[in-house]
Symmetry: D2
Subunit: 461 residues, 4 copies
């Protein structure tokens, strides 16, 4: 035995019990009472929750967008992830319009190469689906890219038409892959945006007005309808409101158990009033879809508790206020869309969700580890604490209080959307494939140690 995690309360997506975990090499090999050390490194987990490392399958590291590039690359972003209890990462690789998928994948693998500190994979966002690109899809799946993405918004940039979405859904079904969709009606967003700007409504608050929840709800319904017709699995990412989620729920009630919904901490905690913060501070929260009314926070927590929203990811897409968000000083449409969050997810969800009785520990583990591991083809290597699985393990100290602040977080940006929020409970040790990479508030792993994960087929959670 190389490492023994001793005396913690192990939490899985269904169970909870006190035991020691024994790790040999990169894997868990034993779970039991009073495991003997015999020279192994002992990590004391007394009083801690021991959970499977979280998976973040919705991020945009080192991504060009709106004339700039997201401020976290695979090094800074993954270090932040590790320090926040995340051990597996799936980033969105973007096809260039006119470009091939192979090119896109090569570019993104290059971004991670030599920098990654935790294990990672890629989704492939398809922006231009011609016959040649269609022909590339099986090769992508062979490379372990078993999830694709479509944007129904960002007209003239990433936005695809319904024919593309439908064909991609059909192909994904045939290949055992999953389609993720950004659901907003880009035509209407584009119209409303231009109108607002032309009428001089340029402040960050008008970002929300340009993307009312009806455009999200409409696109969600459309994506679900096309997936139903294509008999394909679908995951609607970053869902923000009841009007949208009900379409996923209705599909599931009809027996379509491969239709899924994802949400993010920002939609659980923040709300549309944030855009009114003075001095352009509202720009911090400019992301798409935008923040909604306060009542949606409560709704989303309940849906998470009910298992209707099966994954809880970050949509980490960080920009600096100083020189990036500020590009839209005079025009909200030029504010780069996105918010940091790769590091704060686990503590926020633990403190605000589990700690406040909104969700159970089991639901937290399911939404951040087990469900995404299944859906993205990494289970049971990732996503659970079980004999034979990778020893990707996080210790949460439920009593540790931390005041969140950009000044102490590892995310490479100059603000934290939750600045000043005190959380109770925080990840204190992160283990990746048997190696302690975060402890004593320090990242202690090495740059480049993260491995590419060749993912398997989509599996319903």
């Amino acid at each position: 035995m190389d490492v023994i995690i001793k005396g913690g309360t192990i939490v899985t997506a269904s169970d909870q019990y006190v035991a020691d975990i024994g790790v040999e090499g990169e894997q868990i090999t034993r779970i039991g009472q009073s495991l003997r050390a015999n020279g192994a490194r002992v990590v004391d987990a007394t009083g801690m929750y021991v959970i499977p490392g979280a998976i973040d399958a919705h991020t945009h590291l080192d991504m060009p967008f709106g004339g700039t590039v997201t401020s976290d690359d695979f090094e800074t972003g993954q270090i932040a992830a590790a320090c926040g209890g995340t051990t597996t990462h799936v980033d969105y690789c973007l096809q260039s319009v006119g470009g091939t998928l192979h090119e896109a994948l090569a570019t993104w693998r290059g971004k991670a190469q030599g920098k990654a500190v935790i294990d990672y994979g890629f989704h492939l966002a398809v922006t231009d689906l011609n016959a040649n690109v269609m022909a590339e899809l099986p090769a992508m799946v062979n490379e372990g890219i078993t999830s694709f993405k479509c944007f129904m918004a960002y007209k003239g940039v990433f936005q695809i038409d319904d024919a593309t979405l439908f064909q991609l859904l059909e192909q994904a079904r045939e290949l055992g892959a999953l389609v993720n969709v950004h659901a907003e009606n880009g035509d209407v967003v584009d119209l409303l945006t231009k109108r607002l700007i032309s009428e001089g409504m340029t402040a960050p608050r008008y970002h929300a007005a340009s993307r009312p929840l009806e455009v999200e709800a409409e696109a969600t319904h459309r994506a679900v309808a096309l997936a139903e017709l294509a008999r394909a699995p679908l995951n609607v990412v970053h869902m923000t409101c009841e009007a949208s989620v009900r379409h996923v729920n209705e599909a599931r009630a009809r027996g379509l158990l491969d239709i899924h919904g994802e949400t993010c901490p920002q939609y659980l905690l923040l709300n549309v009033d944030q855009y009114d913060e003075p001095d352009f501070q509202g720009a911090k929260y400019v992301m798409s879809p935008p923040l909604r009314d306060r009542k949606e926070n409560a709704f989303l927590w309940r849906q998470l508790a009910a298992g209707n929203l099966e994954t809880l990811m970050t949509d980490h897409c960080s920009f600096r206020m100083s020189d990036q968000k500020s590009l839209g000083k005079d025009n909200f449409a030029k504010i780069p869309n996105g918010i940091p969050g790769i590091e704060t997810r686990v503590p926020i969800v633990f403190s605000e969700g589990v700690g406040k009785g909104r969700i159970s520990l089991q639901t937290m583990v399911a939404a951040m580890s087990t469900n995404p591991a299944r859906m993205y083809g990494m289970f049971p290597k990732k996503g659970c604490i079980a004999v034979g699985s990778d020893a990707d393990i996080v210790l949460i100290d439920p009593k540790r209080r931390v005041v969140l602040s950009a000044s102490t977080l590892h995310q490479h940006t100059d603000y934290c959307p939750y600045e000043g929020l005190e959380v109770e409970g925080y990840p204190v040790v992160t283990i990746s494939r048997g190696e302690v990479i975060y402890e004593n508030d320090q990242f202690v792993g090495s740059k480049g140690r993260g491995k590419y994960i060749k993912r398997g087929q989509y599996q319903a959670p």
Copy 2:
């Protein structure tokens, strides 16, 4: 008094009673017991139902489509209408891509000029909405064109994008007009059609496969969502199935009483098995949306009875089997889409609907006269039997039995989709603005007598 209609049972959208109707000039001036003739022409209505003449607000006369032209023009089509109990007509005028609305309207007014035998107006189908066309809309409304149309299908021909639909809805709201929408997801239809043809599935039955009900339901939801966001009235035409109608019903349940649905006799009586008729006879029923499963017939009758589908129009769009439908002999996608029905609607709805207890006489009058008169800005001049209204009146003999047949109908085509159906109850006299134009099975009016109706604003029914 010029004409007295004597002893019939007058039916309105809410009431029913026996009385005489007195007409002076073109209008109803008196309703009472034992009106004295004093030299007026007396039309004996004993034992008859006396209803407001039906309005057909969904037709395509003299319309170019798929390399041919619909086989009924304003003369033959309107004579057939009159012989079938219809006294008011609103046809779809189509903007050419690249053309102006004024040009389109001038063209269509020319088609009616000198031919019309009943009163008529036009909707304007917008296919290409640029800034210039937007600027034409108020003028169109001033001309009495208070309803527009968008096609969400027919990719590359009439199909508009969501931005166009949304803008048109907003403009219509401002102008007091109504947007009619053909709701099918044209992107998916186009894909499925090309695939079926490429796989050799070219027979008429594959027309139905190329337009599954999910594409109608999706587009209906989308149109309703955009209308809700635009706070605009909307009418979804030719609805065929529960999956679609529920979106209209849900909107109304949310209090959106300006969201409406229309259906047609073909969706109430015919079903998808018709496409399997041998020897290319299935082509008779090739229309869009296509016929559905039998269970939808019953559903639609119930919705009509419940007042959820507020109008019942024909979508009359006639082609000959001999030289027009046959264009698609080897390719269902080349079969001109459409079905005749302008003449058979009233007898079919009376016999199959009222006669079989599915709907009341009041519902029949509401769906074919009063509701469209309100929605299309012609009430109370048209659409009711009331003092001061145009004397557009039809007598139905509830005992008259007729076997429907192309050989005896006045529609200018070589087939009848209901060939051989015996109806019980038939219009026996049609009066337009006080003039008897149909009696003794003969059209007795004169060509060119029909007048253009400058329609007023949309009004909820």
Copy 3:
């Protein structure tokens, strides 16, 4: 011609037009332009709306309840009705526990005898359904009693069990009659009431707490379910909230077009805060079901506009504050349940509903005249303005402003729940079977002139 109503705007449940109405004897015999007087009395209706007299089919006149008797009898109550634009009245006759239906009917006919000033009929509230009572039902229908009632609340007084309700529904279906139901779960109300009283919560405001909307919603669902199983028509009276109405709407959406809902002006205008009025004034509003949150007002208006709530009655059940409501000074459960309203319904609905754009004139006429006439077997004798119908006609002056006050109303009680409300539009002339019985703010008819109406079978509106 005996009477001519000249120059008014006639409003029916579907139409609206300017014309004169000619009356001979008790009936309308002519509707037309410029009817000649020839010695007839001419009622000038210029600038007025001329509507079919309203029907009030939910009242409790001269009814023993809680140790007292409602303060309006058939004389005072019907005079108030006439002065408020109501020309037809159906009262609830109550079976005594242990008594026969014949006895009950004889008692109630006696109450009206010699006092009635407008035409009237009775529903029969069944409180004790044994085999003998079952055997009486056909005779009741022959007497023109084609509607029954069950109370699901008032445990130990009127409350019936589900077996009774189910059997009554089955019998009503066989006999062409309609069952009205007071839907509240009486078991739970009884428990909550006793608990509140025992805990010292005796003020009027606790009346609302003793009957939460869930008990109404539950009982509504149950009544609808039993009616569906019995395949019988059902009318849920005095509906107050979305939680209940949705069960009626869902039934109708399933095609059960004989399931109906009624509401009353108090649920459209008043709300639960009224119970907090100081000095026991909250007792004025103690009725069952109780007033709800403000948001339900808006919901109910929308449902009325949509035609989902088909009738709008008063549930007039008047008690004096001075010596009747005061019985419950120390115990809300002893406050006689009920509110006056037979006189104020038409002006309130016209002013707050039509005047404020919430419903159309057609909807108002449908909900107060045409629909109840059909459902309660009196159409087309009552409920419409049509040749051959009884000349029950009301003129509304849309410009007349009146401040509602118990001091000027004819209702025989010492308060008005809408005291001080100014309405715009008021009935100024009431005609019953051709006789003007109210004009110049005076009742001018004669006591005892009202006739018993032998009602026919239930008909769907």
Copy 4:
């Protein structure tokens, strides 16, 4: 280590992996790769699924009913359970009308005493809730009775009124207990039954006619409504159809995550046609609620897969055809209600559910072990495979084929409702608290070894 279960595939409600399990005394102490035997008994699990022993929390052993007593007592019933993969048992203890809860519990504990072979507890079915009985409830909870039951059917026998149900729900909430409800409208069932019998419709098939699904749906809605009002947890047992389940689903969609539904194998596999089996064989399937249409089978499987029906119990209530079911030879209402199934549940659900792809192994474990362990206060002692839990473990051989037959099953009755059904996959070893009690097709435990479980509070699954 006393026992090692070697090389099997361990399945939990969320995970699945290959490992050995080590047992010391009565508990699991180790899970790992290549555990060393060191003298422990080794149970070879190669190629087997190793699951937490199933929990059967819905049975009626040794229960008086309709003049007879169920044919399985705690000895035969629990032996059958053990041979079928069930290791924990919660039986329904019934209060006598007029009797106390203490008496009832003493009686039922006596039935188990000296006979039980697996661990067990009791629910308490309350049939007569007066003040004294209310006062007993806390004591019952202290005894480990943390679940109660109400029957809404069986009029004049077990049926309670709504006041009783509501009070019990409130008390249960206060005490941390769960109310189980048999949801059928007993008033209507009683009426329909008497009518059918009086009309000579006495054959078993009329049992189904006497309890249409509407009576189940109505009562389900009512129970849910009362639980919502009481803010109490509720479990609706033996659900059979969509009409009922939708009420549970709608409650959960409103955020009421303590509203639960249970179903049973008979409702997943059998259907109403079974009642038509000749020669009174239909009596085998006489149970309440009755079997439904085939389409409900598919619906229920989907709901199970979706996690909407959280538990899958047997409602084992066995009677012999020879001398018990035959009591109703001439009157279906005298056929004792019930069906055997305690032994066949695990193999049937594995073969028909998991084997045919309808549900996952995880869902099977959740529905039969983990969820009931939580809801009935036994988690994590029971219901999971985890270090520290009782070693209640079952090995399923997925390849073993067995033809189900009364002649080979251990259930003490003369028929099997699934006679002749071949299942693929069967429990081959059952371990209870570390002791192998079933292997080689034999029960090898000892009578009386089963222990009473003092259960803790209700916990949401």
